[in-house]
Symmetry: C2
Subunit: 438 residues, 2 copies
């Protein structure tokens, strides 16, 4: 019965702004960062790692918030905690003083995600299973007990959740076998950052095609003539049959989104991602109606399950791009997966950043095996950045995530990476005070 002795939270920042990796119409100078949580116990073999993702400044605010969130864990019995991760999640999210600062959104919710992600890593490691497998093998009643259904009963009751999961049980083994053979399909965003030159864009699109990708995503929204030129290049390279997605990162008002996307329609995009404020449910619904058959996608800034509930109710989106480090970890992600299934909306998780690919591979696998039971219109984001800092990096082959097999949630970073990129005192930053992230 190990006991939690220490929860450390570190401010880890990578200087990605120097290379324009991650540049889009809204985020021009992102330094991809992690609020990195390590849970230690009095048993050296029992530990867990988790994080939330930020883009630089303010990562210290998330660190402080996560430290506060973790206080009640110190001294707790690990078996008791991981035996009921619903109880600890509810305890954490219902701290009424911290709740005031959201509720369930912004820094406090990112911090909760970071800490709960680490607890889920503890649980999966303790079970000796990859996180997706821990969830797939969990008795349905137990899984539903830890799923956050608060504020959802108008669209999803507990009984419905149980029934939906039960329905997939007989066929789960077949889908696992399929994923062992073929992996889970993904697409690449690495080609299309806004800060890249046309030549680099062309080269990266060709590399994506050569690597087996059938989907390529480009950033748009800064200048419509540039967008037209860049989309023409991409479409030329990938051909008429591959899928092209576009992502505006929230830069438009609703009428502007409709007009701008109309001008890009000739390139036949599969979806327009984040066309406007991530909070604007009714705005997304209006855009979707106007730009069909181009699909509408959003979710990387989807703050909580109540927002997703309404996106589904309002028929506002064609693709649900939930984020593994913004929603309240598995407890809230399973709610969204279940609602998406009920409303028939495919989940294509947001990834990239730092370590989000490592997390979402588990979510997509669990979704396919135990919830959606479908790969139709489903493709998970993949960005080829920063994987070298992870102990068990995700592996992509032929445009698909290879099924992860190591125990845990794949969130552990190399200690050397943490030491080097800890802000502001890690070896990388110490010599650069006043640089990009300062």
């Amino acid at each position: 019965m190990p006991t939690i002795t220490e929860v450390t939270v570190e401010d880890v920042r990578f200087p990605t702004s120097l290379s324009a990796d991650g540049s889009d119409a809204m985020n021009k100078d992102a330094d991809y960062s992690a609020t990195y949580v390590s849970i230690r116990t009095d048993d050296p073999g029992t530990a867990g790692f988790g994080f939330t993702f930020t883009t630089g400044r303010g990562n210290d605010v998330c660190v402080l918030a996560a430290q506060l969130r973790a206080v009640p864990l110190i001294g707790r019995d690990v078996d008791e905690l991981i035996g009921d991760l619903g109880a600890v999640y509810r305890e954490m999210k219902s701290d009424s003083q911290l709740r005031w600062l959201g509720p369930e959104k912004g820094v406090e919710h990112l911090a909760l995600a970071a800490v709960m992600n680490a607890l889920w890593d503890v649980a999966a490691r303790a079970a000796g299973k990859p996180l997706w497998r821990l969830l797939v093998d969990m008795p349905t009643e137990q899984l539903v007990d830890l799923t956050d259904l608060e504020y959802l009963s108008d669209v999803l009751t507990r009984d419905e959740a149980v029934a939906m999961l039960r329905e997939t049980e007989p066929t789960r083994a077949a889908r696992i076998a399929e994923l062992e053979r073929s992996g889970y399909p993904c697409y690449t965003t690495s080609a299309g950052w806004l800060g890249y030159s046309d030549e680099k864009l062309r080269r990266l699109c060709q590399e994506a095609v050569d690597a087996g990708y059938r989907h390529v995503k480009l950033k748009v929204g800064a200048n419509v003539d540039d967008d037209i030129r860049r989309l023409r290049i991409a479409r030329e390279v990938i051909g008429p049959d591959a899928q092209l997605m576009i992502d505006a990162n929230q830069v438009w008002d609703v009428p502007q989104a409709i007009e701008w996307v109309g001008r890009l329609a000739e390139f036949d995009p599969l979806w327009i991602e984040e066309p406007t404020s991530p909070d604007d449910i009714l705005g997304h619904a209006a855009i979707r109606k106007a730009v069909a058959p181009i699909g509408v996608a959003t979710g990387e800034h989807g703050m909580n399950r109540v927002l997703f509930k309404q996106l589904f109710q309002a028929e506002a989106i064609d693709f649900c791009q939930l984020d593994a480090a913004r929603l309240g970890s598995i407890n809230e992600i399973v709610s969204v997966l279940l609602m998406a299934k009920k409303f028939g909306v495919p989940v294509c998780p947001h990834a990239g950043g730092v370590g989000l690919c490592e997390l979402v591979q588990h979510l997509s696998v669990f979704d396919y095996v135990a919830v959606s039971a479908s790969l139709e219109n489903r493709v998970t984001e993949y960005v080829d950045h920063l994987h070298e800092h992870f102990v068990e990096p995700c592996v992509v082959q032929d445009g698909a995530y290879v099924l992860p097999t190591a125990a845990g949630y794949s969130a552990e970073m190399h200690e050397a990476s943490v030491r080097e990129y800890a802000f502001p005192d890690g070896s990388y930053w110490a010599g650069r005070r006043g640089a990009a992230s300062a």
Copy 2:
């Protein structure tokens, strides 16, 4: 031309949890707190004060966030800043790294509100006017230029905003004269906290009636039989003609809200406040339809103007309870006031907490004089707590806020109060380490 030399942010916490002041079905142990911002310049006569409100733990997270928000202000010329508070607001909110942590919600938005509130205080003091008067006297084009219309153009264009403000210009003086005579109507929440005994409730309701209030608000939602008993007491004391409001502080799911409010309908409440998640626009719309003619009110957790836009679009609320320290200060509040006017929804600002009454009196006066031009169905919250800590506390007489006349935004606290209640090292807390807020 004074220059900003220092922006200090202090963590000020009052031990209100000890007396059950502020207790409701969601917030059982609030320690009312302020993230308190002081802007100093090289001119001793030029300064400004602002804050956001929190309920205890996590106030330090807001303090750190506000410190980061304030960094770009150091060394800036005051006249230039206050000459274009739209530019500084846009600069602050579009910091793309900090934006990732919201966007425009949670801790980062609270912090932005705190800093911008202090800048607005600087501006009003420099003009020698109370904040409401600064806004009323401002040329309409200038006021619209600093109003945040991003993501709103599907319901409110710049031209409409200008026209709406212009329309009230000829009659503003008459409304100011009226407010000088009668004040702005308010209601009291001081009677109805959930932690109070029946005897205390009865006594406080009687005191409210005796003090001239025509509206009394009670907390509900923990136990329906208790609610029925407490509402019966309140209705007995205030009589059939006074207005009774009820406030559930987000404890219900949508179907439960409809059922519970139905059981309280016999007491003829004017509104049910925060019946469910503050993010659930469509849920509020469903509840409103089901519980009519009881009105639906929400907004103290309304995270930003995009949420309010949708509450109006979906016809989800009868009363808009915006919060002066959660929205992005005047720049975003004016947007919401204008949209509320357009959609015909009365604004009854949330107050109470620490210093919110001091702020909202300015907002309600500005709204009446320059935007809504109506007092129908309008009543602003008042809670009789913690005013003694303010240098220019609001004054309530005969159930109305007396028109504030001192220059500024009424946000300055006594230095002695800040010293005593600074957390954790102020004189009050230093001897109580490990107590309520620790």
